[in-house]
């Protein structure tokens, strides 16, 4: 029974591992190449910038804070900032956490896009390719099939993304270590001890675990459409909620659907440098505590119930629809 379910998940992973591995690997490659390019240009003394930042408003104080440089090497700029003062451990770990979470964000978006397409194809592609009757010749329930597709895409595949995020984080810390190697104000030791890499890993693992629950109405909906429609699952998946929101706006009484969809599309549980607009968390980073706090909200469990209902609908259609 359990070995059968693991077999199903393994099958899912084999089918989609290409995209689940290559998508985050591409993001990682872009970041690494961009950083490497800047470093090389800086070495060649070609990366020079003019900056004029007015931070007065952002700081929220009356004091004028202005940051102005002309024709300065990026390397000098970063270098200057790093050695500008004695860093306390708190300060250092705060900044590094921001960097750590910030660099994870593009990975979240790319993973989400991949996930949407994988889930929409999960119960549709095999009907289109007519392999569904082969899969159905095996002693597996349709509920197991649907669940294995959900579990693999939502809770197994992120491991690849998390590994890539971790690799890029280590790479960036190594670059920073290189920059501070000769400085007395900062030691390589203090960079790594304050990096929060392990904490960051826990944040990511727990974050993806809980995000899967938080976004279950979205994921359940995608699987439902994948099992139910005979053509163009992507358009259906988009059109129905859009029509619902439009209808709601037209009647003008409520915005329940709109805010529900908006809320559950947000990466509420994933570690980020700053939460998205409309987030109830204020202007701090999304941290481990925020992810875990979601677990005790009514919203999350209402969403889980709605998501489960969509999944049940998906199982229902999976039983009878064998063709497109």
């Amino acid at each position: 029974m359990m070995s059968g379910f693991i077999g199903l998940c393994r099958r899912e992973w084999l089918e989609h591992r290409g995209v689940f591995l290559w998508a985050p690997a591409s993001v990682a490659a872009v970041i690494v190449l961009a950083v490497a390019l800047v470093l090389i240009l800086a070495q060649l003394d070609m990366a020079r910038v003019d900056l004029d930042l007015d931070l007065s408003e952002a700081s929220g104080s009356d004091v004028e804070i202005r940051f102005e440089v002309e024709d300065t090497s990026i390397l000098d700029l970063v270098d200057g900032w790093l050695v500008s003062h004695e860093w306390s451990d708190d300060e250092l770990s705060g900044h590094l956490a921001l960097l750590r979470r910030g660099v994870a964000e593009p990975f979240h978006y790319v993973y989400f896009i991949v996930l949407v397409f994988v889930l929409l194809g999960a119960l549709y592609d095999d009907r289109k390719e007519r392999t569904v009757l082969f899969w159905k010749s095996l002693p597996v329930t349709d509920a197991e099939t649907v669940l294995s597709k959900l579990v693999t895409a939502v809770w197994v595949a992120p491991v690849a993304t998390i590994a890539m995020i971790l690799a890029v984080q280590v790479f960036l810390l190594a670059v920073i270590s290189g920059l501070v190697a000769t400085r007395e104000t900062l030691s390589i030791w203090s960079i790594w001890t304050n990096s929060g890499l392990i904490m960051g890993l826990v944040e990511l693992l727990v974050g993806y675990l809980i995000q899967g629950l938080w976004a279950l109405p979205v994921y359940g909906w995608l699987l439902f459409i994948s099992a139910a429609v005979n053509h163009r699952p992507f358009l259906w998946a988009l059109f129905v909620p859009a029509a619902l929101v439009a209808l709601e706006a037209l009647v003008g009484l409520t915005s329940t659907a709109r805010s529900f969809i908006h809320d559950h599309l947000a990466f509420r549980a994933l570690p980020r440098a700053r939460p998205s607009e409309g987030d109830a968390l204020g202007h701090s980073a999304v941290e481990l505590g925020d992810s875990i706090a979601l677990l005790v909200t009514v919203e999350l469990w209402v969403g889980v119930i709605i998501g489960a209902a969509f999944l049940a609908g998906g199982v229902f259609f999976r039983r009878t629809k064998n063709e497109v």
Binding site: G4, I6, L14, E15, L133, S137, L138, P139, T141, N322
Partner: protein, 283 residues
């Protein structure tokens, strides 16, 4: 207990009555050929037996189970091929075998691997790299490695060359078939499976037209070839069908005395294709 017990099955697709009172019984130790023209309801009948589609009416039990509601239980004892040429193209053959083994306890991976060793199919290849014929071979190798009590084959040899087709049916009869097993097979090439069947079922317009043991063929049916002068006398004996042939006129009779027929021409036992044509023309 019968393996398959179907009575008065009905299934409607829009205006089309795909099944319209279809009956079938299959017992262990039988190889049943389900034979009918295109669109006669063969595939719909098989899909209901396999729990792949819901029926509108009638009574259906396979191993005493409701196929639609208890499909996973049914699939523990059943193997089938619905679309021989179609397998997941992205999958490596080795992974495919490992997957089937992981979800189906009745699948014997070594048997499948041994069968594949006789072919050009290498385990590290992807299914998409196989030719159509090789894909069918792979599919058959997998399904014959399932220790099933009921094997259902829908046009299993479509796209195979004649040599491999004969080898497949020989293997099916000699290596796979056993007392406790039942096989249901559909094909449009009746000739090809004639010699392995224990029973035939003719289906037309969703209804069973004839259900017969192949050993009852000689007792139940007779073919007479006669010249034109004798034809009127034979027509008066209420034949199932009449057709012109090179040797004169061919009549096929059901439940007629062979002695009485022998007065008018040469009597023999009709072949399955001849009988099929006769039964279909009767309607």
């Amino acid at each position: 207990m019968s393996v398959v017990l179907a009575q008065g099955l009905t299934k409607q697709f829009g205006d089309v009555r795909a099944l319209d009172g279809f009956d079938l019984t299959v017992e262990a130790g039988q190889i049943v050929g389900l034979i009918g023209p295109n669109g006669s309801g063969k595939t719909t009948a098989l899909k209901s037996i396999l729990g792949l589609s819901r029926l509108d009416g009638g009574e259906l039990e396979v191993f005493g189970l409701d196929p639609f509601k208890q499909r996973p239980d049914l699939m523990r004892r059943t193997a089938y091929i619905a679309d021989t040429g179609i397998m997941p193209r992205w999958m490596r053959i080795r992974d495919l075998l490992a997957f089937v083994a992981s979800v189906n306890p009745a699948f014997d991976r070594r048997t499948a691997e041994a069968a594949l060793a006789d072919t050009e199919i290498r385990p590290d290849k992807k299914v998409g790299m196989l030719s159509k014929g090789m894909t069918v071979q792979l599919h058959l190798a997998i399904v014959l490695a399932v220790n099933a009590e009921l094997l259902v084959l829908d046009e299993p040899t479509l796209g195979l060359d004649i040599l491999y087709r004969q080898r497949f049916y020989d293997a099916l009869l000699n290596d796979y078939f056993a007392e406790q097993r039942a096989i249901v097979v559909t094909t449009h090439e009746v000739r090809e499976i004639e010699h392995i069947l224990t029973h035939v079922v003719f289906i037309d317009q969703g209804r069973t037209r004839l259900h017969l043991g192949t050993d009852e063929l000689a007792a139940g049916f007779a073919k007479v070839v006669a010249n034109a002068e004798r034809s009127d006398a034979l027509r008066a004996m209420n034949p199932l069908s009449e057709r012109r042939s090179l040797h004169g006129r061919e009549f096929i009779f059901r439940d007629a005395s062979r002695q009485a027929l022998a007065d008018h021409g040469e009597v023999s036992t009709p072949s399955l294709p001849e009988l099929f044509t006769a039964v279909m023309e009767e309607r």
